[in-house]
């Protein structure tokens, strides 16, 4: 198991801030996995990402990239890394193709960006000035910019924000395709649906500290209740009943019910990632 990033006791404070934004965070990112960094606004997700992509260098602690200190890497680091920002990052007076042509000229390795634009449903608009693009089109163009240099590690900030379900699906499929080639993805997002569909591991961060770190499945098991909920017809009325999973096969009430009534639905009691997000990032109003 190879770690692409190993972050040890990372600390960072903005010069004008009284409090540290990142307070001794440690985690590692395994090669070929999709990692979600989740947390409320201002939790320190973006700052962590800026540090990992070397936009912020004056941090404390140690970060290893492929076993070497991140600070020892020069511009060659960006040959291997792709970054998809949430906000627009293109020249508005240039077309999508002109933007990508210019940025791709700065890398040694390139992909066929025309083909990628077509996959992202931007084929018909690729010769339009980016200033005329809708928000969703700019988000897709940002994604194309991130993949321009055929990176090994991809950092994505809200990669599907503002997209319709079809285009969001296309982006998610491309992310999974990227991962299937053994590449690593680091995502920050508020969309728990994306996390469930994409992430192998999630890290919850709150006020600069990690509050939870696990796989989505394990988190659901940890925070969910181990029970089964049945909905059934009883005298033309819908009724619900919950049963503990433990000893379910010997639970006579449960067995009688499934034998004798017309079942409408059966659900396991696992909680959603949204509930877990609220629980572990500590917004007590919703707990």
């Amino acid at each position: 198991m190879k770690h692409v990033f190993e972050v040890k006791n990372l600390r960072f404070k903005y010069p004008k801030s009284n409090e540290e934004t990142i307070k001794g965070v440690s985690f590692s990112v395994e090669e070929g996995k999709i990692i979600g960094l989740l947390g409320p606004s201002g939790a320190g997700k973006s700052t962590t990402q800026k540090i990992l992509i070397k936009l912020i260098n004056d941090y404390e602690g140690e970060i290893l990239y492929n076993g070497k200190n991140l600070k020892s890497y020069n511009k060659a680091f960006y040959e291997e890394v792709g970054v998809g920002f949430e906000m627009p990052v293109h020249f508005n007076k240039l077309t999508a193709v002109q933007n990508l042509k210019y940025f791709s000229s700065l890398y040694k390795k390139n992909i066929d960006y025309i083909e990628l634009l077509k996959k992202l449903n931007l084929g018909d608009d690729m010769n339009k000035e980016v200033g005329q693009f809708s928000k969703g089109m700019k988000v897709r163009l940002n994604f194309a910019r991130a993949l321009l240099n055929d990176p090994k590690v991809l950092f994505l900030d809200e990669p599907t924000a503002g997209l319709d379900p079809t285009n969001a699906r296309i982006i998610k499929d491309l992310i999974l395709d990227f991962k299937s080639k053994g590449n690593t993805v680091f995502i920050t997002t508020h969309l728990m649906g994306d996390v469930e569909q994409l992430c192998d591991e999630v890290i919850f961060i709150r006020k600069g500290e990690i509050t939870e770190k696990s796989t989505p499945r394990d988190l659901k098991l940890k925070y969910g209740t181990k029970e089964v909920m049945l909905e059934y017809q009883n005298n033309s009325k819908i009724e619900k009943k919950n049963f503990l999973m433990e000893g379910l096969g010997n639970n006579q009430d449960f067995l009688n019910l499934i034998k004798n009534v017309e079942l409408e639905t059966i659900h396991s009691g696992e909680t959603s990632l949204e509930d877990i997000f609220i629980k572990v990032t500590g917004d007590s109003k919703y707990e």
């Binding site: 511009k75 040959e79 906000m87 990052v89 007076k93 240039l94 000229s105 890398y107």
Partner: protein, 238 residues
């Protein structure tokens, strides 16, 4: 093609697409018109001033507005995550602005020579234009880096222009006596204008030396100590 050449090409394309190049040329044509309407006697004083307006004040405004726009669009972030050195990004901006200024200087100079048969030391003029542009761009970048928004940027620019140009104007219209000329060199704009003057007419050697040294010291301090350190932080803010 080196990274720097690619970045310079990108900057020039940007200047063209954003019509900054066209605006620069239109302003130069306005200077050409002024030269055409001026008489031969007054032209010696006017030409260095017009060239300075481009090399000095326009350079500051151009770099400040251009960088501000780039930050607003976020395109500067896209450059910062590309495999190019921050130093090359900065140099490309300076060279692109310099090219713009040299185009303008050439237009003004050509019209002065063709219309009024003006005599000038061309090599010295271009050398002094380069020194003036590089020093004033460093001032423009500092103004941008310390501006919270577009309004404060324009405010700082106006304050600099007022403080810097007033001594030069008073000197030109002889409100300030010539004996104060050396003291007035504290204004980078006055130093730049004295250098450009010296390509057209005789100027005290001491004033030329002080101006050259001063305009070289300004960017030598501002680029490494302020601009290079603050540029990345400013670009990724917000």
């Amino acid at each position: 093609m080196s990274d720097l050449s690619k970045l310079i090409k990108g900057e020039l394309i940007r200047l063209y697409k954003y019509k900054i190049l066209i605006v620069g040329i239109i302003v130069s044509l306005l200077w050409v018109l002024i030269i055409g309407l001026s008489d031969k006697e007054s032209i010696e004083g006017i030409i260095p001033m017009l060239i300075f307006m481009d090399a000095g004040m326009m350079s500051i405004l151009l770099i400040a507005a251009s960088f501000y726009l780039e930050k607003q669009e976020g395109s500067i972030k896209s450059l910062l995550i590309a495999p190019v050195k921050l130093l090359d990004i900065l140099i490309s901006k300076v060279i692109a602005a310099l090219i713009l200024s040299l185009i303008s200087t050439t237009l003004v100079l050509l019209s002065a020579i063709l219309i009024h048969n003006t005599t000038v030391n061309i090599i010295l003029l271009y050398l002094y234009v380069i020194i003036t542009v590089v020093s004033h761009i460093s001032i423009g970048l500092v103004i941008t880096l310390y501006s919270k928004d577009f309004g404060s940027m324009i405010g700082l620019y106006a304050a600099f222009a007022f403080i810097s140009l007033i001594p030069s104007i008073f000197y030109t219209i002889e409100i300030i006596p010539e004996s104060f000329s050396t003291v007035l060199l504290i204004s980078p704009s006055h130093a730049g204008q004295m250098l450009l003057n010296s390509a057209f007419k005789t100027v005290d050697v001491l004033i030329i030396i002080i101006s050259i040294l001063y305009l070289i010291i300004i960017p030598s301090l501002l680029y490494p100590l302020v601009i290079y350190k603050k540029f990345k932080k400013y670009a990724i803010e917000g």
